[in-house]
Amino acid sequence: MTKTADNVNPNVYEKGSEREITSTELDEDVSDDIDEREIFDLIRNINDPEHPLTLEELRVVEQQNVFIDNKQNLVRIYFTPTIPHCSMATLIGLSIRVQLLRALPSRFKVTVEISEGTHMSEHAVNKQLADKERIAAALENNNLVQIINQCISSS
């Protein structure tokens, strides 16, 4: 397959620093809640399917677009495709979902959506990403699973 990438020359942004380990985190008795930063850390290193760059470097995901409610067990993530006609948007959304499915405790209900107004077929993609059965079906497809695994294996 020699398809050229949708966005051949994307803007690359600075990588944020690693989360610093605080003294409370080293304290056995304090319990640290899962926060936005932690969830962001789970998905920032997912690779873009087209470039050898992470979603963070392309600013597809940003910490300010991650929301969590620990009491209600809700997680909501908005991601921003690099260009409005990006054909990989669904795949990126799927990768984020799969990564969170594997890495978050099962008590959370996770919603992954495209940031409003950043993609041409925003609603269609959102609908696909919210459909559990379609996700399950997608994960039966070996080719797709392979691409997703390659995207998230470095995170």
């Binding site: 803007n11 690359v12 942004y13 600075e14 990588k15 380990i21 985190e25 080293l26 056995e28 319990s31 640290d32 899962i34 932690e38 850390d41 789970l42 050898p52 760059l53 470097e57 990564q99 594997r102 890495a103 978050l104 405790p105 099962s106 008590r107 070996n142 080719n143 699973v145 392979q146 691409i147 997703i148 695994n149 390659q150 998230i152 294996s153 995170s155």
Partner: protein, 970 residues
């Protein structure tokens, strides 16, 4: 009856009978003994050598060759060899079936001592005319190459006279060779050949034949037991391509073409070739290709992910620049090349939006600048002003910081190549920028500003000193951050070395207000740290130390702070050399003052006393032996007396004697030793007992071999054997002391330690004191900064930890362990394994692995952490023994992922799971995959974030086991 080879029946015998080939040895013996002339033998073979049947002639030649192989190399005369050679050359014209034996036989002939190299001209003549090398089988082709190679070694001069026909013959004989082993031989042989035989007009032909293999694309057959690898071939081919300067043009064309290839190995091979080619090719040859080379190099260096490729490109660039710089004075192309680099990199720097991009461009410039003096001058001259301007653009803070660091790198390169004088004007601006950065409020700017100033301190002009000092002294007095503090002290130190008078006025007398040192209590400790660091510079020593001692001897309440500051600075040997400390002691009487202070404070028993003790011992260890003796004789008697009144005073005695040199000895030793022994067992204070053990260990470790050591050792042993072991209070102390004795002995490399180690093991197997036994093992294996260290003139035999490990392994082999003591036993193992270099463990994999697996059942945090670490090490090394026990290990480790008492255990066990998934064969892991994924789920919701992070790592890795897209190297 005479054997058959004495008659002409031999010919028939060779034709009919295979067994005759077994008897060549006897024939050779007969020839050697003179009973058979070789001429007779050949006559007897005539029937078969000239037989009409090809197959029979082949047998004859084979037989003859075998004789030649076995006959000693120096036996035949030159005349005999000449005839045999002529015969063999003639046979080259025979049927193709006969050729292999001829080729092999000739190989033996040229090995003969009396072989004249003149004969080879005709041989090659006929060989290249009659025999098509590439239609022979592998071994015969090899024999041809070997013949050429051997003759070349024998007489190069003659081979040169053979002229173009010979060279052409060589070229055509190897043209099309396909066998990897033959190729490897040829590639190794060709550079020698090329270096010695001038090719004349055949340069291009020769290069064509060699270069058709480039780049090597080869996969060894999977059934080959000792395969030739692609890398072997590639490494061997490379030197052939740049063997002679004449290849330059052809080689560079080829190389540029392959650099543009999409194949990764082709690129890497080409880069390596380019790097190496700079050794032989002339600088001028690169001229026409520079543009193309640079654009290729630039492309490879800016590759995003492939680090190997990047590194190779950097090396090529460096080699190329340094080669070209040799023509810097005669040729414009070098300067143009460097300017081309400068222009494209300046564009890249200006366009970069992330630090990664910025650093990539700076790295290229640094590589080029590092390659030669000339390039360094051009680049630093252009780049320093450019970077200074870049900083002013107010790009992102990270880029600004990176640009200052880049300045520091450039400065160091300029310093390295000694071109600072030529770029004086540019360099002078650097400190100003450092000042700008250091004046920012954020930590990152300050740190990088100071660090760069330290690197470029020689460029600092006097007018900038005051502003720097203002910032620095503010930092030192008001900031809390350790990193900024230490770098600030370092900077003051650096400036003080260049401008001592200024610092003296502004800092020592001004900001720190030395004369009224303790009036101002705020930030006193920080000021003291700065002063004690400055005191190591000669100009400051007298003033500062004098003032500090005044504070100490006035027994002011702040004295402890002074002592603490001095103690931490003096123990830093990069600041204070031995000579410096000795000088301070003899000028100021440091030890006397500190001891007086200690004595007055000893009743308070606060922690600052420890600083006092270590200050004394650190000072003592720097002194020469005679001064040490002096000080000891001044104080010992009085101190021993004081000890009899208050045993706490023993600590002062200890700090005096702790770090004496091995050859220092006085009459008090025995008295002190027995005092120490008594205190170690009977004193009620933990600290005093510990110090007593320290001192005994030091004495034992340092005592000179021979009588002195033996007396001391025997005395100690007798004293200890008379101790009452049943006393519940004494027993743990005794085991503790055994630990110290063992440590001292094993570190001095004495075998006697085994005796004490056995005693400790005995205590481990006793349920009542097994705990203390394992503590003793811990003492032996742990390094203490102020005990038995090199600084205190102690002997530390090499590899003593390995020795402990081996001895412990041996002694415990037949030890019976009851269930009550098993935990202590495994814990002792853990202490030993923790400190033993991991590579040593590989010899005892099975034993250690089973210990580690056993240990997973015990509820002991320290034990678990060490043992899981060991397991992780073995797993990462893909140890087979563990792969077979996965069924046992996995449930236990899974259990530990929810170990409540320690998050470290949880993290380590999760990491172990991750590594298992990463290291072992999918086939072994698949049966457990589903269970583990379910068992790991609870850890995702662990209350500690660090545990969760590792759980995520482990669980996402296990998801990949056997799944499509898994990238596993096995």
């Amino acid at each position: 009856m005479e054997p058959v080879w004495f008659s002409s029946d031999l010919a028939d015998e060779i034709i009919k009978n295979n067994d005759i080939f077994e008897q060549t040895h006897s024939i050779v013996t007969d020839i050697m003994s003179g009973r058979l002339q070789i001429t007779i033998l050949v006559e007897n073979m005539a029937g078969v050598l000239t037989n009409k049947e090809v197959d029979n002639r082949e047998r004859g030649m084979r037989f003859f060759t075998k004789i030649l192989q076995e006959i000693p190399k120096d036996f035949l005369t030159d005349m005999q060899i000449k005839f045999i050679s002529k015969f063999y050359i003639d046979r080259l014209k025979d049927n193709h079936k006969v050729i292999p034996a001829v080729l092999e036989g000739y190989l033996y002939i040229i090995d003969m001592k009396n072989y004249s190299v003149q004969l080879s001209g005709e041989y090659f003549n006929v060989l290249f005319r009659e025999v098509a090398c590439q239609s022979q089988v592998r071994q015969d082709r090899y024999n041809i190459y070997l013949t050429i190679s051997k003759l070349l070694e024998k007489d190069v001069q003659y081979m040169k006279t053979l002229g173009p026909d010979f060279i052409y013959g060589v070229i055509s004989s190897m043209d099309g060779e396909r066998d990897p082993r033959n190729l490897l031989f040829l590639f190794n042989f060709l550079p020698k050949f090329l270096a010695q035989i001038p090719l004349g007009h055949l340069v291009e032909e020769m290069f064509e034949v060699i270069s058709c293999y480039y780049p090597i694309d080869f996969h060894p057959s999977p059934n080959d037991p000792a395969p030739v690898t692609r890398n072997d071939l590639a490494a061997a081919l490379c030197p052939c391509l740049y063997a002679i300067p004449e290849f330059a043009e052809h080689c560079l064309v080829l190389l540029i073409e392959k650099l543009d290839s999409s194949l990764r190995v082709a690129k890497i091979d080409s880069l390596v070739l380019l790097t190496k080619s700079c050794e032989t090719f002339k600088a001028e040859s690169y001229g026409p290709f520079l543009k193309a080379l640079w654009s290729s190099l630039q492309r490879e260096i800016s590759h995003k992910t492939d680090d190997v490729l990047k590194l190779a490109a950097h090396e090529s660039l460096s080699a190329l620049v340094s080669k070209l710089s040799t023509t810097a004075n005669t040729d414009q192309s070098f300067e143009n090349f460097i300017k081309g680099i400068l222009i494209s990199m300046q564009t890249a720097l200006a366009e970069s939006t992330t630090v990664a991009q910025f650093v990539q461009a700076t790295k290229i410039l640094l590589t080029a600048a590092n390659a030669s003096k000339e390039s360094c001058e051009i680049i630093t001259k252009a780049m320093i002003p450019a970077v200074l301007a870049y900083y002013e653009f107010k790009t992102s803070s990270k880029l600004q910081i990176a640009s200052i660091e880049f300045l520091g790198d450039l400065y160091e390169l300029a310093q390295h190549w000694g071109v600072l004088d030529q770029i004086q004007k540019q360099v002078d601006e650097i400190p100003q920028l450092c000042l700008t950065a250091a004046s920012e409020r954020t930590k990152e700017y300050q740190v990088v500003g100071f660090r760069t100033l330290i690197r470029a301190k020689d460029a600092l002009k006097i007018d900038l000193v005051v502003p720097f000092v203002e910032i620095l002294s503010y930092n030192i007095q008001h900031l809390e951050d350790d990193e900024v503090l230490s770098v600030s002290v370092e900077t003051v130190h650096a400036i003080a070395r260049k401008y001592p008078e200024l610092i003296m006025d502004f800092v020592v007398k001004g900001k720190c207000d030395l004369e009224n040192l303790i009036q101002d209590k705020t930030a006193l400790q920080k000021r003291l740290n700065l002063l004690s660091s400055l005191a190591s510079i000669d100009d400051f020593t007298k003033v500062i130390i004098g003032e500090m001692l005044k504070v100490i001897s006035s027994s002011n309440e702040e004295a402890s702070k002074v002592i603490q500051a001095l103690s931490s600075s003096i123990s830093n040997s990069s600041l204070y050399s031995y000579d410096k400390v000795a000088q301070i002691e003899s000028d100021h009487g440091l030890i006397d003052s500190v001891l007086t202070w200690l004595y007055s404070e000893i009743a308070t028993s606060n922690e600052s006393l420890e600083h006092g003790y270590s200050l004394v011992s650190n000072t003592i260890c720097s002194l020469p032996a005679d001064k040490q003796l002096n000080i000891l004789s001044n104080h010992t008697s009085a101190l021993i007396e004081k000890c009899s009144m208050n045993e706490a005073n023993f600590q002062m005695l200890e700090c005096l004697y702790r770090s004496i040199r091995p050859n220092v000895y006085n009459k008090h030793f025995e008295e002190i030793l027995s005092l120490a022994l008594r205190l170690a067992l009977n004193n009620d204070k933990d600290m005093v007992r510990l110090k007593a053990c320290y001192l005994m260990a030091h004495f034992l470790n340092k005592a000179e071999n021979g009588q002195k050591f033996e007396l001391m050792y025997e005395g100690l042993k007798n004293n200890l054997s008379s101790c009452n072991r049943d006393d519940l209070k004494i027993c743990p102390r005794l085991i503790f002391l055994y630990g110290w004795i063992t440590k001292a002995l094993v570190m001095r490399g004495s075998d006697l330690f085994q005796f004490w180690l056995k005693k400790i093991l005995l205590s481990i197997s006793n349920p009542e004191c097994s705990q203390q036994g394992s503590e003793a093992i811990k003492i032996i294996m742990t390094d203490f900064p102020d005990c038995l260290s090199f600084r205190h003139h102690c002997r530390t035999s090499l590899l003593y930890k390995q020795r402990m490990f081996l001895t412990f392994t041996k002694i415990t082999e037949n030890m019976s362990i009851c269930p009550e003591t098993k935990e202590a036993y495994i814990l002792s193992w853990a202490y030993i394994l923790e400190k033993t270099p991991k590579s040593v463990l590989n010899n005892e994999v099975n034993k250690i692995a089973s210990l580690a697996i056993d240990a997973l059942e015990y509820d002991n945090k320290d034990l678990l952490i060490v043992m899981i670490d060991i397991l992780i090490y073995f797993v990462q090394a893909k140890t087979v023994a563990l792969a077979q026990s996965l069924q046992t290990i996995l449930p236990r480790i899974i259990n530990l992922t929810t170990y409540v008492k320690s998050m470290d255990v949880r993290i380590k066990s999760l990491q172990c799971l991750y590594d298992i998934a990463n290291s072992y064969d999918t086939r072994l892991l698949l049966p457990y995959k589903q269970d583990i994924l379910i068992d790991l789920a609870p850890s995702l919701d662990d209350k500690k974030r660090l545990v969760r992070n590792m759980a995520v790592k482990a669980r996402t890795r296990w998801f990949l086991v056997g799944a499509p897209g898994e990238n596993k190297e096995i």
